[in-house]
Symmetry: D2
Subunit: 504 residues, 4 copies
């Protein structure tokens, strides 16, 4: 489906080939950037190997047979899955157990709602990163009464051992690390195209699953109660469909919830930037000069963490409001070319393209680390480094040394680093997913129409409140008098709906 | 107009007396809290003296004659003003010059727009705190071509020496520290009710000036091009008028701009909480236990500053989203009663009422400081401390010791402390005011109707951009390719309008 | 004794005039720098008025009669003191009460040792800054049984109202703000030269008192049990005397205790740099560029505070170890000339001379604040600014604007700012003083010889332990097994003596 | 040599068996704790597998043959080494190259001193952790002219692939991960006991190498010019020898240098605590409650890092001075039992024993992480967890789950975690080692006697200065006038020798 050109860049035309001929009316309207982003979610082209938890080191000893050519069964004889190696299930189980420790809200929901089975009868088809955290979500959905079939939304991000544990646990999972493009769509199809089973809920991350059903099995939508979509890209597609009058079921945009924006971006990035850089490069942060491109929530998290570790941090921004915030937070606001010669680390988190171009990389000093923290891998112009005079050396998983003729080397972490480093962004997200599914599945007739909805403010607050017990945090309750004074319901919502989005 | 009861509390009935009989239709609809807030902006009832800059210490030697009974002229013979003492003009001038150093954006605007005089012909009547920062604003408006007449929006906050400098500079100012309620309205009336001069623009902080014109000189609105309103209260009143179909000119709500929310609240409070507490109590922050009630922007600023100074900070919250943010920022979330016995400092910034009640104050330890950082003085139940067994001792301006029968004393900073501590909140605000006035004054017919408008996103960004040069901050510009990729205009706005408001 | 030259600089020769002819043998050996430091402690030559707490604003209305020409008695008829105005006693008492809140360790000692009166019979003559904190110390010494007579160690730093309160309380205090040099020595002499009273303990800050007794009343040393000396200068003098074999009583160097170094320097400066700059200049710290000269404990405190407030901080250093610490703490290490054009604030805390010279000040930008946080006022070459083309304008107490011919002005806080800003450095110091006095006074014959002693490590630990209860801090005790394992006594000392001094 | 008892605890008697019968005179004097510490450096008894860099995951596929039974040659035919697998050399070389990026000071020294070969003729025998950083040190020593033979000072910490790269590069290395006790001494002996080669310098970490030569080849000391010793334990042994008059060559104690104390402890731990916990447990720090036992340099680093990540941090201390510092830095000082039920993470860095005992672990909540950051593994009473009712589960390298009968599990990182997490402590140390070796090797006759020396202050400063260029840090130089004023040499040392040690 996708063709890599020799230089690793994906040509525009090949992008369009993903789309079916008959769907052009709405999808052609997507701006170029969306196509690109979408791709970047599915396939990170510059990597030869990819995401690795500690666990995946064992993969090197794996055989090279395609999972599609293997016959595997779990210990109960079930064979309705396709994964790398069912034998890794025990190891995957331990990873899931560790993840459970860090997902108390979901575990609480599992416990609380288990009696009433709010998803009894739900048949959920999902397409997300397949990680230990996703496994905790799937097992929770199952505990709440749902049946699940699942594929990966990214050809590299699957934790094989987790997929094995899920398969062993009876889930129909179709995913492995290092799928080809053909594998990718084949897996999605295997989730959906089952005799005697039809999904009534969709959980999607990137819109590829929704897209596939739209095109191949449009009749399925008759039984589908709703779509929960997480990604910017997928949400954009849904709004396009809605505008074009072609959205035939209610959809929930969970990307723009406050809890998601704050916790997945600000707080998670504050930790994962350190962790990611340390694991891949062993760099020491104290005293290092770092430039962070972009001062949105991700950039704010990165800057705060690096400042705390004793780095000297510069920021680039295009938006004067974010720029002024950077100033007030104590970061020098510069243009990239002002500091490019002196910095030790360059981090991109703009959501933009070609923020770090060849010209800049030519001027970096020896040993400079270039790291993409943005959601897409467009920020660094990696293609421009695929020229004959530069030597590439893969030194660790995710880490390339690019070596100039004079011996200068830069350390490149070019792939979409957020999912690479840590799939933390499931921390809050999975509970939002679960609640959104429950809401859409149980909503009375007429509450939701064929439109795209934001997560209700009150549910956003509920998501937050589910996390409080793990911090032993005690919420204050309004007195009647105070509630009246403020004009609020004592149980919330506590902020108007227009407070939903994070400040610039 | 307002009657203080003996214990310093203002009774509800007296509040209503502010309103004219014939205006009840819309103003009666205001919820109680708004009345109270409005009052708190105009009059802080528990203080016997009030705001004091370093300068105001000299006031003690001033004579006690009411300014209304004095005949004063400035050095050019002009007598169209009413202030405490024209002789303080030189001192006030120095304070203004110091303020100019901290208001580079306004000074830049003054320089830039001086040639074109965008306010030529504007006759602005204003009602705000009268401080050095306001003076910089007024002199800027004048430099841009406007004529100004001004009264104070608060009977205590006027810096007399600044008012003197303004009068000396030819401004018609009617304000002094310690006005009576009657003085308050008399001053406003003197601004408006002039022979041969009619305002065509209103700048209001709290809505009292607007209110007065509405009731006494409704015909003036025929020539008025617009109202710029800063306060929560005043904005609320305007929306009420708009809903009731009684708003007869366009109005600009500048309270809800991002720059105002972020910079006045978060960043200013981060500095003013330390400054305010230090100046009034000389407390050392290191190692002190502090509870901050409320984790909005003000609370966030207070907490960050105190944490940095080595305090141990607890937070109380009612909103689970803010509560979870407090947790992730490293503060224990508690109920007030859990820590009230052990804390050294209690800070309120909830916007709520009776957050700190007598019961809590009875349990505080000796020497505990109780400080209100909220905009209104409702947060601490001061009235409950006006009981016979407690002794009050005013130890410094704004600082009372309240002494229990057993000798325990608490240190009370009960008044609306934000304006007390520092009128920093003019830092960004005054430039917003100036821009909003220019926009409304110059808007082509039809751009604004008889409605309440938010500051356009782009103007918000412009406000921010005006502050960047002072930080020697260099904004990055989008390339054409990048702008296209992001679907943005290269000159902004860079965020959708729904990004306007600060996150919960 | 000291002659100011017209340009405000004190000439070297005049320095020597302080010394008596017959004392040259040892004092002439002092290196120049020490003379200068000593002077800077006694007299800050560039100021025309000086230290001011809030209280001192009232002084402007005071009469101009010299205290030496006044006849004053306290309410009990006692006249053995010489101060500005006994009528300010009530106000001073309130200041002392506020200070008591912040000095829990001393108050605890007062309470604890009051029964046993460990200073019964002690006749202490003291020469220190006379502030509310000193008053708390003196009243504690008195409560422990001592008689006290006191003079000021600095001609500008006396809080007149505190001196009044002390006089009213029966203390023989000889000090006022704005003493002449003649007054300075006259006051010291009045403390010592009393009929029927002879001191047996000395508490000195700067060595001037010790010096006076040495020269004028050497026989007094026969009855003196010891000297407690706080300042670098005074300690240096004592070591010189000791080397020369002329020290005739034991002396305690309290300057180099760990608690003093850490708490007076690092922690106090962290707070007082913000407070001092804010009170004097109202500067907002967020986004400001600041260069801090010197990264010792004072510099570390300043840098940490400013970084936390959102300033961008540069550091200059001469010592590579401190320099590397600055790097690892996230500050760019520069030479002053690299950043002098761009910074908004320059802070000196090197202990060195001429760190900021005219050449640098010529290149500063308009509005730049130049602030001395060092103990002496040598760091800024103020004399170089006393040239005809520059205009000086005193805008507030301690704050001068120096104006260049082109209108550029710098804001100069040139005097020894530490005592100016806040006499916090008494926070820990006064308890150390008290303990050192008790130790020397009660030491058995032979424990201390005629030498200079450091505060015993164990007493240093005791000072720290006295402060713990105020923080509700619970110390862990070693088990017998653990003490044995570590080879420590369970009650300390917990560190070897060579841990005494702060790391480079 | 060492016998593990069944419960994993090493009995005291077995400790003594390490020592040779004829050496009891001095080594028997060592206090018990030192024996224990020494052991903990050599062998971490509670682990079944051990230190692992990313690289070592490949080891699982390795054969089980002992290296002593293998015949290996490097590509040049050299066989004078004994390591796990020479084939890993390429991988190890990449690890070394990455380490070089982070060791600029050593690389600078290598470049600078390469011409003059200051170690020409040096024959160095070393016994340290064998990691990529050590390899950079060894290759630098070699570049400076030295010959090196090396063994490991810890049976678990060797990075096999690095040892392979060294062997491939021609170094005689005798070390592998997972040596037996017999292997350990065999390796040391192979380094020393070579025909036709005799060492003239010793670099030791823990004293085992020195000890071995003392006992087996005492005549070797005739040609040995000096010992450089890094560890607390080894230094203690040397002081014992010196006291007993048995030290026959000069020794340099590099453990107590300022640069080592500050950079290895404070700054490295600030980073490695986050990295270590994240890699092993994936824990998210935001909002977590953590208790840090011990507030020395290591504790300070841990606390600062965790506070910055949004953890709520408690501290325990026995020393009131450190305790007060914790208070002033904003941490609640508690006894462990006050918070043990509520914390999510317990970190030990006291240097003490049995700080976390079974009783506490019984009361921890489910999922609590218990992590040792101290240099020795005595802090957690691991032996007390080896009881029948508790189940141990090794979930990752270095990570055990210990499971109570009720299902509660704690996550145990009990081994000496500093070397486990990251061998960062080589960051500064290796340059100190190199300089100390150069100094001792080149010192003129008589400069050093048969005693233990501290690193000269000036060399400490030189170590720091070597690191400055990598931070693009510009040191200020004293003018002649300033140097004279301060009484300093312009080239340092800048602090008196008593500033050497870190403050309590």
């Amino acid at each position: 489906m996708l063709k890599k050109k020799k230089d690793g860049e994906i040509s525009e035309p090949s992008v369009k080939k993903i789309q079916f001929a008959d769907q052009k009316q709405e999808f052609n309207k997507r701006p170029t950037k969306i196509s690109r982003r979408s791709l970047s979610r599915s396939i990170s082209q510059s990597s030869t190997d990819s995401y690795s938890s500690a666990a995946s080191y064992t993969d090197s000893s794996d055989d090279e047979t395609s999972p599609r050519d293997k016959q595997q069964k779990n210990s109960k004889g079930n064979a309705d899955f396709c994964i790398k190696n069912i034998k890794q299930a025990d190891f995957g189980r331990r990873e899931i157990e560790i993840a459970e420790q860090e997902m108390p809200a979901l575990m609480a929901l599992r416990k609380r709602a288990q009696g009433e089975k709010p998803l009894a009868g739900a048949k959920i088809v999902g397409c997300t990163h397949i990680t230990a955290q996703t496994a905790v979500l799937m097992e929770t959905l199952s505990a709440l009464g749902a049946q699940c079939r699942w594929a990966a939304c990214n050809i590299y991000s699957t934790q094989n051992e987790v997929a094995a544990a899920l398969a062993e646990g009876g889930f129909s999972v179709f995913a492995w690390k290092g799928e080809s493009e053909d594998d990718f769509w084949w897996c999605i199809d295997r989730c959906v195209n089952v005799e005697g089973w039809q999904p009534n809920m969709i959980l999607d991350d990137g819109g590829d699953l929704t897209h596939w059903i739209y095109k191949k099995y449009p009749n399925m939508f008759k039984k589908i109660k709703g779509i929960v979509e997480e990604s910017v890209t997928g949400v954009h597609r849904l709004y396009q469909l809605s505008k074009a009058g072609k959205l035939c079921v209610p959809a929930m945009n969970v990307n723009d919830s406050v809890t998601k924006q704050k916790f997945d971006n600000l707080y998670c990035c504050r930790e994962s930037i350190l962790d990611g850089l340390k694991r891949t490069t062993d760099v020491m942060f104290g005293g290092k000069q770092v430039v962070v491109c972009g001062y949105g929530e991700v950039g704010k998290g990165c800057c705060a963490a690096l400042k705390a570790m004793g780095s000297i941090v510069y920021v680039t921004e295009i938006d004067p409001i974010c720029a002024l915030q950077a100033c007030m937070d104590g970061f020098r606001l510069v243009k990239l070319n002002e500091v490019i010669r002196q910095v030790d680390i360059v981090i991109t988190c703009t959501g933009n393209k070609n923020v770090v171009v060849r010209e800049y990389m030519d001027r970096m000093k020896n040993g400079c680390i270039v790291c993409n923290m943005g959601h897409s891998n467009t920020e660094i112009d990696v293609a421009s480094l695929r020229t004959p005079e530069l030597t590439w050396e893969r030194v660790r998983s995710q880490v390339d040394h690019v070596i100039w003729p004079d011996g200068k080397r830069i350390v490149l972490l070019a792939e979409s680093v957020l999912p690479v480093f840590h799939l933390f962004f499931i921390f809050v997200l999975s509970i939002i997913h679960a609640l959104a599914l429950i809401e859409l599945y149980n909503a009375p007739e007429g509450r939701y129409k064929q439109d795209v909805y934001l997560l209700p403010k009150k549910m956003d607050e509920y998501v937050a409140s589910l996390h409080l017990p793990t911090f032993d945090a005690h919420l204050t309750e309004l007195s009647d008098e105070q509630a009246k004074y403020l004009g609020l319901n004592k149980n919330g919502p506590f902020k108007p709906n227009y407070y939903r989005s994070a400040a610039a």
